[in-house]
């Protein structure tokens, strides 16, 4: 187990190396540069050159890359060109929001998706089955930002049940420790702050959950249908076990294997930020920030964020693989 984890983490090094090279090349080939973003249309060539020189962008790409790698090794990601703050600071401030949003979305998607997929399989060909299959198709087809707008319009602007933007009501003056607002509220016993942060998560969480939910429903349904036909389920039935035991112990556990894999991939995807949802709800996560950084050609932010997201993605998948081996003894890792 330990060796497996170490091996996977070591594999991360060449992955990151390759990724950084590709990123470097792609970013430098984008037309324009930070100086255009800063100066706009009016900058003179001299002003542009001065900014490029200050940022070290006039040096050869190889030299720039060497400097980047040297800093990377010291875990220093540099300073944002547009906000003039350390990339690491920016990340630590924004990533918790994305993590909270991802967790909310996945809790919704898993909490509804697995039971619904299971029930659809058990009632195959009946109304609930048709509704969940049809519903999941709609869930996949509706663009997330559109759903986000509709949810916002109905539930916060018309009905006023939920806040329409932000991560927390700033007038609460909540204490910040980890920047996970819900967690901070619980740690400082500022219950109203925690509840308010949670309240802010619900609508964007639902919007973001729509696609993972649809995928989880479908995968669970298909997997349960397959497992129901397995010989060992028949054996369990032949033993006279109660329906409950057959379902829980024999059907559900085996059906979850493929679901777990897809949950990992979906979570990794959500963690890399949901630009549109975050924009609609003015939710400060990494998605909107990265999108902004692209238009600003904020190279350090882009490089740093994408590298960290890659690490997070690999870690999430590592966790999935480990949990997989907990569920299925046949893939126990060594």
């Amino acid at each position: 187990m330990f060796r497996f984890i170490v091996r996977r983490l070591l594999q991360l090094i060449p992955t990151l190396f390759g990724l950084s090279i590709l990123l470097f090349i792609w970013l430098r080939r984008l037309p324009g540069g930070p100086e255009t973003a800063i100066l706009g249309e009016r900058g003179t060539p001299e002003m542009r050159a001065a900014i490029r020189h200050n940022l070290g962008l006039d040096e050869p790409v190889l030299v720039q890359y060497g400097r980047f790698v040297r800093r990377m090794i010291r875990l220093d990601l540099g300073t944002s060109i547009s906000t003039k703050r350390e990339v690491t600071t920016e990340f630590l401030q924004r990533f918790p929001g994305t993590v909270e949003l991802t967790i909310t979305a996945m809790v919704i998607a898993i909490g509804i998706g697995i039971p619904l997929g299971y029930l659809a399989a058990r009632r195959r060909g009946r109304l609930l089955d048709h509704m969940s299959v049809g519903g999941s198709l709609i869930g996949i087809c509706i663009p997330v930002f559109f759903l986000a707008y509709i949810l916002k319009a109905i539930f916060s602007e018309n009905l006023g049940w939920f806040p329409s933007s932000g991560r927390q009501d700033p007038t609460l003056g909540a204490t910040r420790i980890t920047n996970f607002f819900v967690l901070d509220g619980l740690m400082t016993r500022e219950w109203d702050a925690a509840a308010d942060a949670l309240w802010h998560l619900i609508l964007p969480g639902i919007a973001l959950a729509s696609i993972p939910l649809a995928i989880i429903v479908r995968i669970t349904r298909a997997s349960v249908l397959e497992v129901l036909n397995e010989d060992f389920v028949r054996t369990a039935e032949a033993k006279g076990l109660t329906e409950n035991v057959v379902r829980r112990r024999h059907v559900l556990r085996n059906s979850l294997l493929p679901v777990v894999t897809s949950i990992g991939l979906l979570t990794g995807g959500l963690l890399s930020g949901a630009v549109l949802t975050e924009t609609v709800f003015a939710f400060s996560g990494i998605g909107a920030f990265v999108a902004e950084a692209i238009s600003q050609r904020d190279y350090p932010v882009l490089m740093g964020f994408i590298m960290i997201i890659a690490v997070v993605y690999v870690l999430v998948n590592l966790i999935v693989d480990l949990s997989y081996s907990l569920i299925d003894p046949r893939v126990r890792v060594r």
Partner: protein
């Protein structure tokens, strides 16, 4: 009174827009307490479906119809509600399946798969259940049972897996055990061991056993009464000796004739039954075996052959049965079928031969005679 009395069980799978499939079409047989009964036939003859119908284990699907009666100890199993059926399954009637690997849950240790039966039907829990489970594994010949309880199915060999399944089946000392091709997925030496184990268990506990198989070697070594199935009906029922010595139904004759034999001369060919199970006549229109039968006569087609009751409780469903070898006379020879007189004559010759030779073939339980393999599962 018989322990299990199966009367006229039929299983039909109907699909919209398609002709209904009569997988089982009026099967009747009975099992006495402590008796070993064989259900024999080739793939698709309905033997597994019959047993699943009795157990109430047929996959629930629209269009499935089960008719008839299966009276176990005074109660008709087919009339029971789901709950009472679950009470009987595993406790009074247990079942062993064909493929031990796929029949075991891959993600649960063997121990739990044994103890869950004990918990369900005997109320055992924790250490008591674990201890009993170890004792059961020991009883079915699994060495080092304590360690095995913690292992998963993929860590056991094929033979061990089937032993574990048998342990689960006999955990509650059922009165009836149904074994559906328990040795088909195993290699020959293991087959013999498993059959030996089943024989011992049945003898020691007085459990009745229904042995479902296509392997005549298995039948010869174990069963006291044998029911031969074809096309979803029992075509011949007899005690073991008479069946092997003087089979009456041409299908039984064909089955016996197609067993490879060690004492056959070099270059001698097997005598398979021509055609396949798919060349089936619906029973309503005559004998289902008629299209493949070497003793076919005009009377075979038209209406279903009646069950003929012969002496000492044997019965067969044939209008032109194979002659008893001692009585084989020219007058008894069948009226040749129109199209292939040569084949017919040939078939008769074989029949008589097979009939007289069989006791020798009956000896090895599943010994060195390689059994005919099933090509496809129903």
């Amino acid at each position: 009174m018989a322990l299990l009395e199966v009367e006229d069980i039929s299983v039909t799978f109907a699909r919209r827009g398609q002709r209904a499939v009569h997988a089982v079409d009026g099967v009747s047989f009975s099992v006495d307490a402590g008796e070993v009964v064989g259900l024999v036939g080739e793939s698709g003859c309905g033997k597994s479906v019959t047993s699943l119908a009795i157990m109430g284990l047929l996959p629930k699907q629209p269009g499935l119809r089960v008719g008839g009666k299966a009276v176990f100890d005074g109660t008709d199993l087919l009339q029971l509600d789901d709950r009472s059926r679950r009470d009987i399954r595993g406790r009074d009637i247990a079942m062993i399946f064909q493929d031990p690997l796929s029949s075991l849950n891959p993600v649960i240790p063997i121990g739990l798969q044994v103890t869950e039966v004990l918990t369900r039907h005997r109320g055992m829990k924790g250490d008591v259940a674990a201890k009993e489970a170890a004792a059961l594994l020991d009883r079915v010949g699994i060495p080092d049972p304590k360690r095995r309880l913690k292992e998963y199915p993929h860590q056991l060999s094929g033979g061990m897996r089937q032993r574990a399944l048998i342990a689960m089946a006999v955990a509650c000392q059922p009165r009836l055990l149904i074994a559906d091709e328990p040795t088909t997925a195993l290699d020959v030496t293991i087959q013999a061991q498993i059959l030996e184990l089943l024989k011992d268990l049945v003898r020691d506990s007085g459990t009745a056993l229904v042995m479902i198989t296509h392997d005549l070697g298995v039948v010869a070594g174990m069963c006291e009464t044998i029911n031969v199935l074809y096309g979803g009906r029992v075509v011949e029922t007899a005690r073991r000796r008479p069946l092997f010595r003087e089979p009456r139904h041409p299908y039984t004759v064909g089955l016996l004739g197609s067993v490879p034999r060690l004492d056959a001369g070099r270059g001698e060919r097997l005598n398979p039954i021509p055609g396949s199970v798919r060349d089936l006549l619906p029973w309503q229109e005559g004998c289902a075996f008629a299209p493949r039968c070497t003793r076919r006569v005009d009377a075979c087609v038209g209406e279903p052959p009646e069950l003929v009751l012969a002496h000492d409780g044997r019965s067969y469903r044939c209008v032109n049965p194979a002659p008893l070898p001692g009585l084989a006379r020219a007058a008894d020879a069948p009226v040749p079928a129109k199209s292939e007189p040569a084949a017919t004559a040939d078939g008769t010759g074989q029949a008589a031969e097979a009939g007289t030779d069989v006791p020798a073939a009956g000896k090895p339980a599943s010994g060195p005679v390689p059994a005919p393999r099933e090509e496809e599962k129903p």
